[in-house]
Amino acid sequence: MKKIYPDARAALDGLCFDGMTVMSGGFGLCGIPENLIAALRDTGAKDLTVISNNAGVDDFGLGLLLQTRQIKKMISSYVGENKEFERQYLSNELELEFNPQGTLAERCRAGGAGIPAFYTKTGVGTMIAEGKEHKEFNGETYIMETGLIADLSIVKAWKGDEQGNLVFRKTARNFNPMMATAGKVTVAEVEEIVPLGSLDPDCIHTPGIFVQRMIKGDHEKRIEQRTVRQRENA
């Protein structure tokens, strides 16, 4: 079973179809599967439901799929960085389902872990709770949220080995590990493919069982808010 593919196009071959649900890792532009998003665009698959915390920016990340109108619906917690998103949403070309960020993360984890639903107090008393089952536990009210799975999950890691074991780096980890568990098929792009046995087995974030295909990508790693301080005596 070879998991390593030569490039992003090859890694998505046969996996994409109109109307599919895709999970895409990352927070803002940090830790997004840049190469696989571009390759997904190139497949031309449309009417996609995309589950991602954010929607990229106009010309990068998931913004690429908005430009080409391949996305029918987004499930996200925050989409404030993307003007094309705003335009499509306000003109009803795009559906949008907001999830609180922690609820979204937990829904992905639940989907991957065989948990069809769980209760949370996040969103109780807000419009997020409308139409959802309410239940009391120990005198407090909670709402039921359901697990999410995707036809395809695309994730970005730092290092990976031929078995698909993945390690993430710093805050680029974010949604990637849960989404890797919740795809019927999961494709990972990594910065470096390392020899089998070189990852510390106590520090593998995503065991290879969750990764069916993998590529080495090239990563621009665009920064949204470059915020720096000055050296006082530079």
Binding site: C30, S76, S77, Y78, G80, Q101, C108, T126, R173, N174
Partner: protein, 211 residues
């Protein structure tokens, strides 16, 4: 004289205690980090998956893999740990964060909070705000006392869609400090030269005076 942004942040910093784990929202709350007392040890959480957030980087330290929840580049400390979004919000939802300081558009006298959406205008999304106010042990709001138009932001009932119901424990505005519990809202401090009458004139919410 009402407090300015930095003075509001400085006042909010007094709510921090030694050993606290704290999540700071975007805007004025971010400034609170500048006023943490040297005698206390506080750890900042960033909900995108980090505990032990350091200051902004020097230019040559910028790392695109290291950002905070406001997508700003930051740095790590010797105590730092990274984790997934699910683990991060497990920490938040499970009540392990001692204090969250965040901004608001409206707060009601019952502690309802609205800070994520203005219907009819573009909605950007709630991000982690709903999880934070539902899960963190204590929620402190820092905001201007009135809107840019001079409309009160401390209300009987929020007019905007809620972020959370009965979740705010304290509000710090440019005019003073309010505490909120089951019995209602209480004015407990005034900014210098601000009178109770000044506050009443720009507040819709009912509040007890306990300055």
């Amino acid at each position: 004289m009402p407090w300015d942004r930095n003075q509001m942040a400085e006042r909010a910093a007094k709510e921090l205690e030694d050993g606290f784990y704290v999540n700071l929202g975007i805007g004025i709350p971010t400034l609170v980090a500048n006023y943490i007392g040297e005698d206390i040890d506080v750890t900042l959480q960033s909900e995108n998956g980090m505990l032990g957030m350091g200051p902004f980087p020097y230019e040559d330290e910028v790392d695109p893999d290291l950002i905070n929840a406001g997508k700003q580049t930051i740095t790590e400390l010797r105590r730092t740990s990274y984790f997934s979004s699910a683990d991060s919000f497990g920490m938040i939802r499970g009540g392990h964060i001692d204090l969250s300081i965040l901004g608001a558009m409206e707060v009601s006298e019952k502690g309802d909070l609205a800070n994520w959406m203005i219907p009819g205008k573009m909605v950007k999304g709630m991000g982690g705000a709903m999880d934070l106010v539902a899960g963190v042990k204590r929620v402190v709001v820092v905001m201007d006392h009135t809107s840019k138009n001079g409309d009160p932001k401390l209300l009987h009932e929020c007019s905007l869609p809620l972020t959370g119901q009965g979740v705010v424990d304290m509000v710090i505005t440019n005019l003073g400090v309010f505490e909120i519990d089951e019995t209602g809202m209480k004015l407990t401090e005034l900014a210098p030269d601000v009178t109770v009458e000044d506050v009443k004139a720009s507040t819709e919410a009912d509040f007890e005076v306990a300055v």
